[in-house]
Amino acid sequence: MADATLSFWGEVDPVSGKVIGKGHPLEGQSLAGRVLVIRSTRGSSATPMVLNLAKLEGVAPAAFINQEVDSLAALGAIVNGIPMVTDLERSPFEVIRTGDYVVVDATEGMVEIRRAEAQASGGG
């Protein structure tokens, strides 16, 4: 989770599922199977392609929670069957913390947060 934009083209490695953008707040973190909370994606037309490759490699994000919806991320989510929600009642950056368990229901437009506090320390 980061209150930042992310370009899937160039800043995400579709093979490892990790953020590789130099200086990006999520640099080095894996998106595989996780809920990605960012302001929006940005940049390239290749966003759906990178997501497709990541999905085929089994390292695509489990879901997107975005503040602004970038049309290319929306397309990538649709084509690859990855749930995405946006325009939430509260800013996701205020209520979600890295490491939380988040259930994203894009059909209903619901996000359920289960705090990670009960988990062993060192998470997040």
Binding site: T5, S7, W9, G10, E11, D13, P14, V15, S16, I20, G21, K22, S40, T41, R42, G43, S44, S45, A46, T47, P48, M49, V50, N52, L53, L56, E57, E68, V69, D70, S71, L72, A74, L75, G76, I78, V79
Partner: protein, 439 residues
């Protein structure tokens, strides 16, 4: 979304499962983006590349599945009323060009290219379709991939296209329709941010710096520039590419210059905002500085043509290179569409062949294979930094580089500026840089 009976029938499979899936992509995408209908689209620019380099280390099965998806797309003909050009590849298909091409990748890509041509795609393999004959008119509805070309089409040409991905552009090519949202609608083509340009833009890359600066601030919005003169095609290319790189900009206006902004008021649809961002000489300098990450003096490759070089740009390089040669151990690349390369007489370039590749076609810098030693490179494009490749951490963005008195890259008419970014000094090899010597 409201669909015509014919569109609904396609969605339900009347023309087979693949077109049904294409229609589903367009309809679901449109619904998410707030479209109310599908509108006719006669002009597309699609991505049909096998992404081996991006997916280095991926399992063969992933790449096979991906390639099979493209082949499946190419088994269906392009809609008869639609002109469909093709984006760059990750390899060049010309065997003379890049011996480092992975033969397996070339084979698969060639197969897809041949299928695409049979399906009715124009295999231009360029990121700048507007340089090779795909020049939509004002108001023309398009479905283009390549974010920099989208900005160019909307802003400079007055055509209308949202930023497409490969799936949506392929679907639009086959079905001849696109969901109507975003900048396809008048009300979404108005300015959202006023940028007053105080810095003097002397060189084409200065326009790129302005774009990079503005894209970061504008996000997904539409910047309106005030205080700019009429710009050239090369300057427009730079500005568009940079805006699309640092932000998610789909279009901009230049008051008094671009087709939909005869005045500042028109650009904003009436009310000019009070707040404005000012782009000063200092911002220009800072932007350049932020894009440069040179760590040494040695240069191994110089890469021009991202987005693809125009005839005019190649001519300029050719004039610069007349009577000179590229330094030993350095490779000069000019990426251009194959149509452009064929069209250019290259009068001054043939002597380059002995040293490498004067004009590589089909692909572009970010995606093309580089020799193992090509990590230290100079380029003329801020775009390379904004959408970095996996090699980007070692990339050098040094513009207008000269070495050993041999011109490596030849973009600059202004030696003064050059010294500002690359002060005259001795390189490790003892040779002097920079134009002060070349003069």
């Amino acid at each position: 979304m409201e669909l015509t009976p014919e569109q609904r029938a396609i969605l339900e499979g009347a023309r087979g499962p693949y077109l049904a899936q294409c229609m589903r992509w367009l309809v679901e995408w449109g619904e998410v983006m707030g479209a109310r209908r599908l509108v006719r689209c006669d002009n597309t620019h699609v991505l049909l590349c096998v992404p081996n380099l991006v997916a280095r280390g991926a399992s063969p099965r992933t790449l096979e599945t991906f390639a099979e998806g493209l082949k499946e797309a190419c088994r269906h003909p392009v809609a008869s009323h639609c002109v469909a050009t093709v984006h760059t590849l990750f390899v060049t298909l010309d065997p003379l060009d890049v011996p480092e091409n992975d033969p397996g990748q070339v084979r698969v890509q060639r197969e897809i290219a041949e299928m695409a041509a049979r399906a009715g795609y124009l295999t231009t393999f360029t990121c700048a379709p507007y340089l090779v004959g795909n020049v939509p008119l004002k108001g023309e509805i398009c479905a283009w991939t390549e974010s920099s070309a989208v900005v160019y089409a909307n802003s400079i040409l007055g055509a209308r296209t949202v930023r497409h991905g490969n799936e949506s552009a392929i679907a639009a090519s086959l079905l001849g329709v696109v969901p109507e949202f975003g900048v396809l609608l008048d009300e979404n083509r108005r300015g959202t941010l006023l940028v007053e340009v105080q810095a003097e833009l002397r060189h084409a890359t200065d326009w790129g710096a302005l774009g990079y600066f503005t894209g970061k601030i504008a996000g997904l919005g539409i910047p309106v520039f005030d205080g700019l003169r009429r710009l050239s095609q090369d300057e427009a290319k730079q500005l568009c590419a940079a805006l699309a790189t640092s932000g998610g900009v789909s279009m901009f206006h230049i008051a008094g210059v671009t087709p939909e902004a005869p005045t500042l008021e028109a650009a904003f649809g009436g009310k000019v905002p009070h707040d404005r961002v000012i782009f000063t000489e200092r911002d220009l300098r800072d932007t350049y500085a932020s894009l440069r990450n040179a760590t040494g003096d040695e240069i191994e490759a110089v890469i021009l043509g991202c987005p693809h070089a125009s005839l005019r740009e190649i001519s300029r390089v050719a004039r610069w290179l007349e009577g000179k040669r590229v330094a030993d151990g350095v490779r000069l690349w000019i990426n251009a569409a194959r149509v452009t390369r064929r069209a250019h007489p290259m009068r001054h370039l043939p002597h380059q062949h002995a040293h490498g590749l004067p004009a590589a076609c089909d692909r572009r810098l970010q995606t093309g294979p580089l020799r193992a030693g090509d990590d230290r490179r100079g380029s003329d494009r801020g775009r390379h930094r904004g959408l970095p490749t996996r090699r980007a951490d070692r990339e050098v963005d040094g513009r207008w580089l000269r070495r050993s008195g041999c011109v490596l890259a030849a973009w600059c008419e202004d030696g003064r500026k050059e010294r500002r970014w690359w002060p005259t000094r001795r390189s490790r090899s003892g040779a002097r840089w920079i134009r002060s010597r070349a003069r």
